[in-house]
Each structure stands twice: as structure tokens, then as C-alpha cells.
């Protein structure tokens, strides 16, 4: 099979993709948590008993980062779509 690109630069692109996946997911989760966090702090200041439920709500968007991270891990460790085209 023809050599499309060398292994090193493809691996580099994979790494960039993995970084983007985690990083952008982190930004998304942060934006989501921002509003919730502010609201939760307000509620807890009024009614300390809501701390548990507030934490629950605040941590909901955290899953987004984990999705990004899962994609990163797959890219870095488990997914080798170029193994056929790349000849080391």
C-alpha cells in the first residue's frame, strides 16, 4: 500500500486531536458549571440543607470532560486506523 504520510506526523496529529478533545470538552463543562455553580452558591447561602443537591447539580456537566477524555484515550491508546496505510 502507498505511503500517505509518515508515522511520526500522523501520531502527532492524533496527539493534537486528543488534546483538542479533552481541552474543548473541559471548556464546555466549565461554561456549563459556571451558571450552575453561581446558582448553587446562592441557594446554599440561603438554605444550607441544599448543599447535597447543589453538589449533585453542579457535578452533572463534569461528565462532558470524561467524554472528551474517553475520546482522547481511544485516540492515543486504542485506535489505530492508520495502521494499514502507515509504514514505519
Amino acid at each position: 500500500m502507498a505511503v500517505v504520510a509518515d508515522a511520526g506526523s500522523l501520531y502527532g496529529l492524533l496527539a493534537v486531536g486528543a488534546g483538542l478533545a479533552t481541552g474543548l470538552a473541559g471548556i464546555g463543562a466549565g461554561v456549563g458549571e459556571q451558571g450552575i455553580g453561581a446558582a448553587v452558591v446562592g441557594v446554599v447561602a440561603e438554605e444550607p440543607g441544599f448543599l447535597g443537591k447543589g453538589l449533585f447539580l453542579m457535578l452533572l456537566p463534569e461528565t462532558l470532560i470524561i467524554f472528551g477524555l474517553a475520546v482522547s484515550l481511544i485516540l492515543m491508546f486504542a485506535w489505530t486506523p492508520f495502521s494499514g496505510i502507515v509504514t514505519p
Binding site: L51, G52, K53, L55, F56, L59, L60, E62, T63, I65, I66, F67, L69, A70, L73, F77, A78
Partner: protein, 649 residues
């Protein structure tokens, strides 16, 4: 007796009225309010008792405490507040006087005129010409200091409004002049002198207050306890239903304690009362009606700290399962799996143990007990992952390296987890067990699998409890078409992925059939096709368990970076390119250790917080949603009575 959870009577029955307080309720509550205001002046906090008092002593000392000591404390506190206010007003005066020093006028020249209007303040541009234009009769003094110009303008009263508008064009902002006499400097000196003397008066008063706090702290808390107890006792009838000749107390008691309650009540009232128990059927009816039946949270003492986590979310309802036991099993393991470092584990253990010794309030005790057990698990996982303050450096020195031949042998058997992104570290664990390196590719893949597996186990237990809870409430449809398919979906989705990874087509096909079946069941369930909208949520629940691996990797990564930086960058660089640790210079070693300590300290702080928060979330979001408090939380059983802390029984 501390047995009966009294339900407040809401006055809904026409023939029963609310009861009235008995005895000296009014006196007790008045005294309590008095005492509370004194304790607030002293800034008293609730604390563990140093000594206890008999009730007779409280009674004999209460009058003195509330009136004489209390009046003394109140007077002292009020004097301190007054001094503070006076000091503040004098400081303000000094602040407004200081700029006036640039004007050549004594202070009494600024006020006391009938026919003259006075303007004192700062301006942006010179005002003399414009003021002279609107008011030919005028007197203007100006001076500048600290890049601002100060003016004092005196004009006849009838020209005041015109001059004022002219001044505002020049950016005039007024300064209020305190009504004092003499030159500005001497006035400031006088004010400063009196501030000093006021502060001199304040210091001994504060010391006196602190001494009184020390002397009366325990007695006051004991009196507070006594008065609260008496108030609760005398005001209890407010919660009863009453007729002219009798009263009814409505409440809950644990079934096992009912005979004791009955016999004690009957002997106390000489048989003049009737204790009745609701039948099973009536209880069921109450549950149906959504009546808040209190639940008594009762766990073995080792599980008890974890009730804190349960309570933080919601108190279990009467027919719900109390998840504290499950938290006790899973939470520390999850914490350990995330932190997984011998060094950090020991550090966390020591720090938290010190906190446990220092803070003796029940909340702190529970929290620290939770973290202590979790820290032990962190140490255990630390041996498993081969980490002492990160995966590099100390492990090899303490535990020894693995011989080359043995690494080859392990590689052949596919058991070698030491070779990763950063190359072989070749380490040997205790008992010859070879620890895995979390940063290695194989280990990451293995841990992904383990995390998802823990997730499936965790969620399935949640689902089983969910089925049980729904059956308890008699909701068969919810149990079998809402909770059961979720469990099947999660288990077989996991198996499906596993089958794909292992290349077992049979497993994939069977799992796929079950997953489709589960989805069909969900559609048949109470929510209908809308239930499908939840499917991605349940799958994402499982993926969420990847955080067990991910947070751990982040912490290992930071620790690894710290070690790498210190041992392989900074130390060789500062010792002139030496690579052998014996050639490092003294400076290099000191700088390296400083870097190690600071980065590991930051990592340790994160290492206490995030391994705690994330398992907490896994419980709250992923597990509790499957079975817990679907109806909005219950009421905790709190029997009428008082725990004596400062009072002798």
C-alpha cells in the same frame, strides 16, 4: 425517654385545640433569650464539654450568671462598640481635615456665618475669575497638594446658587469640614491623641471579655442546655391536640421500643392514659397518602460516618433502602483507586488523623473517619500501582528493581505493565508482585476496563435496590418496566463492548439481542417511548466511571512531572551536566528538593479534594438516581428528649 418522634398537631380537627405551654415556659424562654444574647457578645461557639455540671448548680448560679455577670458582659461589650464607633468617626474627621492643611485658614473660619455661604472642596481648574464674574464680592483661598487643587470660597448668601453652578463647571467636589477650632495641624494632633487614649481604654476591656469567656464558657453552655431542655419540655403541649379534659399525642416510635414506651408511659401516668398502635393497614394508607413517616437511620458503628454522605443528599424515606452501607463499601475503594499512591496515602492519613484529634465536633469526626479509611485504601492501591510520590524515583530505591530476565518472562506472559509512554521503569513490588505503571499503555487499557466494570457493578446494585424499593411501594410496573430494563441495558451494553474488544461474535450477538429487548421493555414501561430519551443517559452513566482512571492519571502525571523535573532536569543542570546521582552538587539537591516539595504539596491538596468529590458524584448522580429518594427525601426520626452533654444526669 428519648423514644417518641412527636408529630405536630396542625389544628385540623374541630373538637381538638392546640395545647398550651405548661409551668414556667415563659420564664425559661425569656432566660434563654437573655443567655443567648450574652453568649453572642462573648462569641461563644458550641464545643465539646470540658466539665459537666449538676442541675442544682445550674439553678443556683443561673440568677447570678444572667443578671450580674450578664450585665457586666453586656456593658463591657457595649462600651467596646461605642469606642469603636468613636474611633471611626475621629478617623473620618482626620481624613477630611488632612487636605485642608494647604489652606491658610484656622478651622473656626469655615463656619458660623449668617450672611456668607462657604464652599470648601477640590476643583479641576482655577475658579477665581468665574466666581468673580457672578459674585463681585468674594473671598477665595486656594492651595494644592497631591495633584489636586483645594479651594475655600466665601460669597454672600444670595449669590450661593449661582456660585455653586459655576463651581460645578470646574469639577468642584465638596469636602465637609468638621466643626473644630484652632489650626488644622493642632486639630489633627488632638484627634490622634484621643484615638490613642480610646484604644488604650479598649484593650483591657477586650482582655476582660476574653477572661470572662474563659471563666464562664462551660457554665453558660450548660445553662443553655438546661434552659433549652426545660423550654422544650414545657412547650411540648403546643404540639399536642387538646380538649377540655384530655390531650392526644401523635407520634412515631421504633416498633421494637413500643412495649417499653407503653409500659413507661402507663406507669408514669398511673394508668390514666391509653396508648394505641396503628395497624399495618393504616400505616400502608399513610404511606399512600404521602405522609412523612420518619425513618430511623441505624447502621453498625463503622458505617455510621458514611451517613454524613447520605444525609447530605437526602434522608431515606420510610420504605427506602439506606445507602450508607453501599457508600461504606464503594467510596473508599474508589478514593483509593483514584489516589493510589503510598506516599500521598500516608500523608493524607497523618494530616487527617491530626485534624481528627483537633476538631471534636461530630461533623468533623464523621468526615475525618471517612477520609481515614479511604487513605488506607489509597496506600493499598499505591502498592498495586507502584507509586511512592509518583511513579519515579523512590519506588525503585525502596522496593528494588526487577531483574531483566524476569521482565522478559512477564512480557512473554502478557503480564507486563511497566513499559509505557515513558519507557520501562522496571520495578518490583512487595512479595515479588510486580506493580503496574498507570502511565503505561497496557495499564491504561486495563484500567479503562476495570473502571467500566466497577461502574456496571455499582449501577446494577443501584438498579436492584431500585426494583426492591418500587416493589416496596407496590409499583410493579415501575419495577419491571422501568428499573429492570435499565439494569439489563447497562450490563449487556458492557458485555457487548467487551465482546467487541475480545472478538467474541457470539457474545456480541447475544448482548445486542438483550439490549434491544431491554429497550423494547422500556418503551412498554410507564413512560412509553419517552423512556428512550433516557437511554443515552444510562450509557453515559457508565462512561462516567472512566473518571476513576482519569483523575488518577492526572494526579500521577503531575507527580511524574515533578519527579522528572527535579531528578532529570534541574539537578543535572545545576550540577554541570552530571547524570549520576552521586555527582549532584549540594545546591542542586536543595533546589531539587524544594521543587519536589512544592509540586507534590499542590498535588497532595488536589489529591485530597478530587478523589473525594468524584466518587461522591459517582454515588449521587450515577447510583442514587437508580433507586434513591425518587419521592423527594424523608424525615429523620428525632425522638423527643435531650442529650445531656454539659449536664450531669
Amino acid at each position: 425517654m428519648h423514644l417518641l418522634h412527636i408529630v405536630n398537631y396542625n389544628g385540623s380537627e374541630p373538637s381538638f385545640e392546640l395545647g398550651k405551654p405548661i409551668g414556667k415556659a415563659r420564664e425559661y424562654s425569656e432566660n434563654l433569650i437573655k443567655l443567648r444574647s450574652i453568649t453572642r457578645y462573648l462569641n461563644l461557639k458550641n464545643k465539646a464539654p470540658d466539665k459537666t455540671f449538676p442541675e442544682s448548680q445550674i439553678l443556683s448560679e443561673m440568677d447570678n450568671l444572667l443578671n450580674n455577670v450578664g450585665a457586666d458582659i453586656t456593658a463591657t461589650y457595649e462600651r467596646i462598640t461605642a469606642i469603636d464607633a468613636e474611633i471611626k468617626s475621629k478617623r473620618d474627621q482626620i481624613k477630611s481635615l488632612t487636605p485642608l492643611a494647604v489652606l491658610p485658614l484656622p478651622l473656626e473660619a469655615y463656619y458660623g456665618y449668617d450672611s456668607l455661604a462657604t464652599f470648601v472642596g477640590t476643583v479641576a481648574t482655577p475658579v477665581d475669575a468665574d466666581v468673580a464674574r457672578v459674585s463681585p464680592v468674594n473671598e477665595i483661598y486656594s492651595g494644592s497638594a497631591k495633584n489636586a487643587t483645594f479651594v475655600a470660597v466665601f460669597v454672600p448668601v444670595e449669590k450661593a446658587s449661582e456660585v455653586s453652578s459655576v463651581l460645578s463647571e470646574h469639577g468642584f467636589s465638596e469636602i465637609s469640614v468638621p466643626r473644630l477650632e484652632g489650626s488644622v495641624d493642632s486639630a489633627i494632633a488632638t484627634l490622634e491623641g484621643s484615638i490613642k487614649s480610646l484604644e488604650g481604654e479598649k484593650a483591657p476591656l477586650q482582655k476582660k471579655l476574653a477572661e470572662m469567656k474563659k471563666q464562664y464558657e462551660d457554665l453558660m453552655l450548660a445553662t443553655d442546655e438546661y434552659l433549652s431542655m426545660q423550654t422544650a419540655k414545657t412547650e411540648a403541649p403546643l404540639r399536642f391536640a387538646e380538649t377540655a379534659n384530655a390531650f392526644v399525642i401523635d407520634g412515631y416510635v421504633p416498633s421494637d421500643d413500643f412495649p417499653r414506651l407503653k409500659s413507661e408511659l402507663e406507669s408514669a401516668a398511673d394508668g390514666k392514659l391509653d396508648v394505641q398502635l396503628l395497624s399495618e393497614g393504616e400505616t400502608e394508607a399513610l404511606v399512600e397518602k404521602g405522609e412523612d413517616i420518619p425513618s430511623k437511620i441505624d447502621n453498625p458503628s463503622i458505617v455510621r460516618p458514611y451517613e454524613l454522605i447520605t444525609r447530605l443528599f437526602a434522608v431515606p424515606e420510610y420504605k427506602e433502602f439506606d445507602p450508607s452501607l453501599l457508600i461504606f463499601i464503594f467510596f473508599p475503594i474508589m478514593y483509593g483507586m483514584i489516589l493510589g499512591d503510598v506516599g500521598y496515602g500516608v500523608m493524607v492519613f497523618l494530616v487527617v488523623y491530626m485534624l481528627k484529634r483537633k476538631f471534636r465536633t461530630p461533623g468533623w469526626q464523621q468526615l475525618t473517619s471517612i477520609v481515614l479509611i479511604a487513605a488506607v485504601w489509597a496506600v493499598i492501591f499505591g502498592f498495586f500501582f507502584g507509586e511512592i510520590f509518583g511513579p519515579l524515583g523512590l519506588w525503585g530505591r525502596i522496593m528494588g528493581h526487577l531483574p531483566e530476565a524476569q521482565i522478559e518472562l512477564l512480557k512473554e506472559q502478557g503480564l507486563y505493565f511497566g513499559e509505557g509512554v515513558f519507557g520501562s521503569l522496571g520495578r518490583l513490588g512487595p512479595l515479588g508482585i510486580f506493580p503496574m505503571d498507570r502511565l503505561a499503555t497496557n495499564a491504561v487499557l486495563l484500567l479503562i476496563g476495570t473502571s467500566i466494570f466497577i461502574g456496571i457493578l455499582h449501577c446494577s446494585i443501584g438498579s436492584i435496590l431500585g426494583i426492591k424499593t418500587e416493589l416496596n411501594y407496590g409499583e410493579k410496573k415501575h419495577a419491571y418496566f422501568d428499573k429492570l430494563p435499565v439494569m439489563l441495558l447497562q450490563i449487556f451494553f458492557g458485555l457487548l463492548v467487551l465482546g467487541l474488544v475480545m472478538g467474541q461474535m457470539m457474545m456480541v450477538i447475544v448482548s445486542a439481542i438483550v439490549v434491544v429487548g431491554a429497550i423494547v421493555m422500556m418503551v412498554m414501561g410507564p413512560e412509553g417511548p419517552m423512556g428512550l430519551a433516557h437511554v443515552p443517559f444510562y450509557v453515559s452513566n457508565l462512561i462516567s466511571y472512566l473518571r476513576l482512571l482519569a483523575i488518577g492519571l492526572a494526579s500521577v502525571g503531575l507527580a511524574f512531572a515533578a519527579n522528572q523535573l527535579a531528578f532529570y532536569v534541574i539537578m543535572p543542570m545545576l550540577s554541570g551536566g552530571a547524570t549520576n546521582s552521586e555527582e549532584f552538587t549540594m545546591v542542586a539537591i536543595i533546589v531539587g528538593i524544594l521543587i519536589l516539595v512544592s509540586v507534590h504539596f499542590i498535588n497532595l491538596l488536589l489529591g485530597i479534594l478530587s478523589p473525594f468529590m468524584h466518587p461522591l458524584r459517582l454515588h449521587y448522580v450515577e447510583m442514587f438516581t437508580k433507586f434513591y429518594s425518587a419521592h423527594g427525601g424523608g424525615v429523620e426520626y428525632s425522638p423527643f428528649g435531650h442529650v445531656r452533654r454539659f449536664l450531669k444526669a
